[in-house]
Symmetry: C2
Subunit: 249 residues, 2 copies
């Protein structure tokens, strides 16, 4: 089902995602592979990026899952987004001085560190790569907006359905899912913090989706039992994920 992470940068999740929307030359790809040199590992429980810290590096996620979140003074937390292989971590933190959110691993993570200098250098060498990264950043923002709509105007069941469908669409881009489902390391506590629900209610919602024959999330695997009806329930419209490449390319 899920593919192993390839050793060659030409077929990394990052490359796979970008080339799905912007054609990249051999030269673009080789510049990109330079960004893959300083590989670091992060264990679960150790923040990769944290709020208020200045002059951070950014990272490209090579393997594992992470999440970005904010802590409330009341103690609760809200997960803003999950990151999967091929995603940037902390792109905003490197363009600007201080980070306004935290990023932590959900599973053990391997990620390539990219400093601000390296990023700008790569951009000047291949404008197409810059355009592709800009496209990726805009897509991230579109996902945050859709997440906001999710929290503001959908019921718990619709939220969960929408979330699982979006995740599936994203994972397919990097070859880690197909129409039947995907492996998913997220606990019900993480789902709760992302969807603005309690963990108890997440459990009940998953049970209902299962009993309705729509989708099954058990033992770390999401299986779509009735994809079309799930799309209808979630009012899932993937236009926001598919927008065309940047004009600048």
């Amino acid at each position: 089902m899920t593919q192993p992470i390839p050793a060659s940068p030409q077929d990394s999740p990052f490359a796979r995602k970008l080339t799905a929307f912007v054609t990249l030359s051999q030269n673009d790809l080789s510049v990109m592979s330079d960004l893959y040199r300083r590989r670091r590992k992060f264990a679960v429980g150790i923040d990769i990026i944290h709020q208020g810290q200045t002059d951070q590096s950014a990272y490209v996620l090579a393997s594992g899952w992470a999440c970005s979140y904010k802590i409330l003074r009341s103690g609760g937390r809200q997960i803003v987004d999950f990151q999967i292989p091929g995603d940037f971590l902390g792109l905003r933190s490197v363009l600007f001085r201080t980070s306004d959110h935290n990023v932590e691993p959900v599973t053990p993570v391997r990620a390539s560190e990219v400093t601000q200098g390296e990023l700008l250098d790569a951009f000047s060498r291949t404008p197409r790569l810059a355009a592709a990264v800009l496209w990726a950043a805009s897509r991230d923002e579109a996902m945050v907006v859709e997440h906001l709509v999710n929290l503001g105007r959908r019921t718990a069941i619709e939220r969960m359905a929408h979330f699982l469908l979006e995740l599936n669409a994203r994972l397919r881009l990097v070859g880690m899912a197909d129409k039947s489902g995907f492996l998913c390391p997220l606990s019900q506590y993480l789902l709760a913090d992302a969807l603005g629900l309690s963990a108890v209610h997440v459990n009940r919602v998953l049970r209902e989706l299962r009993e309705e024959g729509l989708v099954t999330f058990q033992k770390g695997r999401v299986t779509f039992d009735n994809y079309d009806d799930l799309v209808t329930l979630a009012m899932f419209d993937r236009a926001y994920l598919d927008h065309d490449g940047p004009l600048l390319a």
Copy 2:
């Protein structure tokens, strides 16, 4: 209380906002004033930008208020953000081909049209201006993230308090508010669509805030009766609005 919109671009809300965080030279300011040439008016009820449309212009809001939103298939809508004088409308729509959201005026709007070409041209002439606009875009994104946290993890009262405080901070940057309050043209229906509540509940929340002696929103004016306690209630931390200017400057 609220200042009249100045005629000179050097003291426009746009300039005022950007110069609060990035020092701009006389040359930067004059390039910027070129962006102010094609002034257009929009009446309430007529979309400025709409979802799915391609090759849009962007605008800089000169006077009036607008809001960006998404419509759900179920009929409801979620307001993502309000725009006040000095804000960009549809910056993402011009960097990329199609818009994934709508923008409509809340009051009659005057806005300056900026095409993609003009924007890129201005950027190449003054990198500092590009940096300043990038800073503004990043601040917008930070506001969307905070809005998401608001919807996911705060109660209705906290949400409303946080929203009014954020709006006050933004309006102060362009001289349209002070610590005592501001003029606010938003109906309770608009507040409801922004905060993920029903209009009825918005009304009750506003009454409670008034009766607690925290803030009064009546007859188009927001008055802070006890600013400090309101900040405490909302857990308002304005760090996400104040982050430092871009490193690129």
